[in-house]
């Protein structure tokens, strides 16, 4: 994922997280190939699930909370930092931010 598209606050939260740190909340937008049509909601949700599943498998953990926003190809997630780090390595992710106000 393009480093410029990660919210610096999220990056900082992940950098500072230790093994015993609690879960972190993030919001993530998944992109589409340039010029492609937007996915219908059902397909969008499946695609989002696939993205999360990949990170779950790689990190061998599951999010504690997960809310899909299929109409805007996005989701919010509360998960341990390890899972989120794997998630952000996924090439399909367009942008990600800490779910926290400034």
């Amino acid at each position: 994922m393009d480093i410029d598209k990660i919210d610096p606050r999220l990056k900082q939260a992940l950098d500072q997280a230790t093994v015993n740190s609690g879960p972190i909340q993030a919001v993530v937008v998944v992109g589409s190939p340039a010029g492609s049509k937007p996915l219908p909601a059902a397909e969008s949700e499946q695609m989002l699930r696939n993205v999360v599943d990949r990170a779950c498998k790689a990190s061998k953990s599951k999010p504690s909370r997960l809310v899909f926003f299929p109409n805007v190809q996005s989701f919010s997630i509360e998960a341990d930092p390890k899972l989120l780090r794997h998630l952000l390595e996924d090439d399909s992710i367009d942008a990600a931010s800490l779910n926290r106000a400034d």
Binding site: D4, V67, N71, V72, S76, N99, R100
Partner: protein, 449 residues
């Protein structure tokens, strides 16, 4: 400023706490917050920890309150009026009865629908809060409010609004579209704001659907009528779809209806805005009016707005109220149709944001300008309020887009945007850098569609 730094500097700090416990239940296969039960449980918690907070004479809010009494500077007055905890005693202020669980003089505000409290604490109060493991789920420094807050002109407001069609509607040529039978009938507009006082007579039957979201964007199961958590949303909703009220006509598209999401209450939590956008799309809106933004470029918001445009949804966004050489995201994104504000003298409103970006070709925001200063519209409690801001300009343009959508239901968002921009003419006293394309003309826009 981080909590510890602020404590060190001033002896107190503002914090937000997320309350425990939260009861959840399964509705249609989804686990969601059982709102009534949760509020009922958390009210007692809110009461029990309210003593950790207290007002401070030298806090930002207290200082502003003192300045209010002696200053005629509108910025200070509006900041006070806009910020909940210091608005005690204002007759037009609507509070949820659940929030009354916490005393008004406790230096804290309780957000029952979010299960959160925000207030000022000293070091002892903060330590006490941090020890309340059974009552406090999370504690953090509150955000700078991301709502594009309008300015109030209270002295002028005492005289009341002039009767008839507002100057803003006349300036845009909206009545001519009404004469052509266009009221926005059949058009659904997305409205993400502080909520709406749905009991206001000007907004009777204006809300087609409403929603509230928790901090992770999970939609809350709210069965009661929509309320405004401040006053901003009721005002912007009135400009979009308000019926004439008190012999004053201010709503651009009174035949249109709203899909209204409450996404701003106690802070700009990204998941709430995303959830609101997601929900609006699911409701079938083609136009979304956004009088909010963050004071920096945010790639996440940029990606979201791109998602909207990919779905042919037109986001019409206030550019911000911080003056020249400033702008907010998403108003400053190329995918947004952004609005700056003008006044009744057809001049740029002094605080209207504008910015030129070092891109090729050069790009200036806002896209256009529209009436936004000295605007009367509906207020919580059943009255009218006069406000100034780009928050008022954006719904005027979103309402115009709704009228055009009724005229050409098959038109895409991009076509409507193009027609509006093609109708713009910049007043001679406003530079390109401040007013960009200028002010739209409703009839010309219709002819361009």
């Amino acid at each position: 400023m981080p909590i510890e730094d602020e404590l060190e500097a001033s002896g107190h700090t503002r914090v937000v706490v997320v309350l425990k416990p939260t009861k959840r239940h399964k509705v249609d296969g989804r686990i969601t917050v059982a709102l009534t039960e949760t509020i009922s449980m958390q009210q007692e918690v809110a009461q029990s920890i309210a003593s950790c907070f207290r007002p401070f004479k030298n806090s930002r809010m207290s200082q502003m309150a003192r300045e209010l009494a002696s200053s005629s500077e509108p910025t200070i007055r509006s900041r006070i009026a806009a910020d909940g905890p210091m608005r005690r005693g204002r007759p037009d202020y609507v509070r949820d009865e659940h929030a009354e669980a916490v005393p008004e003089n406790a230096g804290v505000r309780y957000f029952p629908y979010l299960g959160m409290m925000m207030g000022t604490v000293d070091r002892a109060g903060l330590a006490e809060l941090r020890n309340k493991k059974d009552e406090v789920a999370e504690l953090f420094s509150p955000p700078e409010m991301s709502l594009i807050r309008p300015f109030e002109d209270e002295e002028a407001a005492l005289a009341g609004p002039p009767e008839g069609v507002s100057w803003a509607l006349k300036r845009l040529g909206i009545p001519k579209l009404w004469d052509a039978g266009l009221t926005g009938d059949g058009v659904l507009i997305g409205h993400l704001d502080t909520g709406i006082d749905s009991t206001h007579p000007a907004l009777a039957d204006a809300i087609d659907a409403s929603s509230v979201f928790d901090e992770l964007g999970q939609q809350l199961n709210v069965t009661t009528a929509m309320v405004d958590t401040g006053f901003h949303g009721t005002h912007t909703a009135g400009l979009l779809v308000g019926q004439p009220f008190g012999n004053v006509t201010f709503g651009v598209a009174p035949g249109a209806r709203l899909a209204a999401g409450t996404v701003i209450e106690g802070g700009d939590i990204p998941a709430r805005m995303i959830a609101g956008l997601n929900w609006c799309v699911g409701q079938g809106v083609m136009i979304i009016s956004l009088s909010l933004g963050v004071r920096r470029f945010d790639p996440l918001v940029a990606a979201l707005v791109k998602q909207l445009r990919d779905r042919d949804i037109l986001p019409i966004v206030a550019i911000g109220n911080e003056g020249a050489e400033t702008s907010r995201t998403p108003g400053n994104l190329p995918e947004s149709l952004s609005a700056g504000a003008t006044d009744e003298a057809d001049q740029i409103w002094f605080n209207s944001s504008s910015q030129q970006f070092a891109e090729t070709p050069r790009r200036i925001v806002p896209t256009l300008i529209a009436p936004g200063a000295g605007i009367w519209s509906s207020a919580p409690g059943g009255g009218l309020k006069k406000l100034s801001g780009t928050s008022m300009a954006a719904p005027h343009i979103a309402g115009l887009a709704a009228l055009l959508k009724q005229f050409r239901p098959e038109a895409t968002g991009a076509q409507i945007q193009k027609a509006i921009i093609a109708s713009c003419k910049r007043p001679s006293g406003i530079s390109t850098l401040r007013g960009n394309k200028g002010v739209p003309d409703a009839m010309v826009a219709k002819s361009k569609l």
